[in-house]
Amino acid sequence: MELLLSAFEQQIRAQSRRERLPMTCTFELTPTCNLRCHFCYVALDPYKGPYLTTQQVFAVLDKLERAGVLWLTLTGGEVLSRRDFPEIYLYARKKGFLVTVFTNATMMTERIAELFREQPPFSVEVSIYGADAEHYEGVTGIKGSFPRFVRGIDLLQGAGVSLLLKHPTSSITADHVGAIHEWCETRGIVHKFAATIENRHDGGQQPSLYRIAPRAVRGLKDELHLAMTGQQRTMPLPECNMGGAADGVERLYQCGAGRVAFFVDANGRASHCVLDREPSFALTEMEWDDVWEQMGAWVDQPLPKEAPCSGCSLRSGCMNCPARARMASGSPYLKDTYYCDVTHAEHGLEPAQHPDYRTYPRPLGACTV
């Protein structure tokens, strides 16, 4: 008789990818937020309440548990703007999810910090928009939000949580990343940078106004890599080694969306991706197996041969994806030319020539022109 009791994370991650098992869910408890970041991807206009009640959230969590989800992220909006956050958090934890909380930390209280100290989350991730009030509040648009952020970080560190700070680098803070790195280092907090800004999930283009130029993205990544590791960044880049599909078919989706990961919004609608929310399914009304089957059919579709990215040798390492394409052009089959240009710049290539994909005709385009 052998009594096996061993860590098996690697095994389960590989198995879930191979067998298409839902391991990871991002659950947006509310889209509302106390900050007004200029480039937030969350669109409130088409996404009105009433949002899920506490009991409805519990029912969704019950369904996620039965589906076999292990890694659960609670996000917003700002999750702490929900008064029932402690109840939801404790319920999720008792269900046996590994609960990560995304927050901006500005609404952290002694009570929540005590809750996290007594009942620790798996991890907490916080966006850092600047290392001083000028930059931070220049992004958030809310005067006084920087000291509240600092207090929140103090509370989280005092509670001993596993903490990650994330900085979305925009044109507002492109010259400020060194100060942010230093701020995190001084406090001994693990941190990372995203060099690109997403459009709004409803296709709103305002966030793109705050993107840094594609060629500057490469320079910024080089600078950050040097600051974080003390070493020059070299090719090939890690993100260029994602590999293609095992069966040789070029799929529309190359990531884990709808394969090992999915998203649930504050109305209880499930979709394959936090950014790309169509098709979506009413998780509160449908059986999980039906949701997962239909989601799978969507993400497993091949990339049309006529699609502009079909056959591109850079595609497997390109940050353009159906979600970003849809947000920029209205169609998942086209592209967000910004990411195409970023990828070309990463490889030292001239940018490709792009038609206006927002007016691209059907069947690939969303436009009827």
Partner: protein, 99 residues
């Protein structure tokens, strides 16, 4: 003799066909990759885990194992002791003293 029972600090989840023990107080050691430490039980482990739903002493667990599996009492005792020690290490069981 001490008895053992499942800890409320661990949740058993059926994940990808396996019975996984998830310590609910677990924190990731790698905030960026969100790696986790949790445990999977094989068939025999599951058998014993079922019996730990209510307090049980080693003799009772060994007896249950020898009745259910083709194994000697001596072998079963070693396995059960090792299993309980591993469960204790990951905080999955509590010890209940007889009153």
């Amino acid at each position: 003799m001490a008895r053992f029972v499942r800890s409320a600090d661990v949740v058993a989840r059926r994940i990808a066909g396996e019975l996984v023990l998830v310590p609910i107080a677990t924190r990731t050691d790698d905030a960026e990759r969100r790696t986790a430490n949790f445990y999977v039980l094989n068939g025999t482990g599951e058998f014993l885990w079922d019996r730990l739903a209510s307090p049980a002493d080693i003799d009772a667990l060994v007896s249950a194992v020898t009745q259910h599996f083709a194994i000697s009492a001596g072998e079963a005792l070693g396995d059960v002791e090792r299993f309980l020690a591993e469960l204790a290490d990951c905080g999955a069981i509590d010890t209940v003293e007889r009153t």
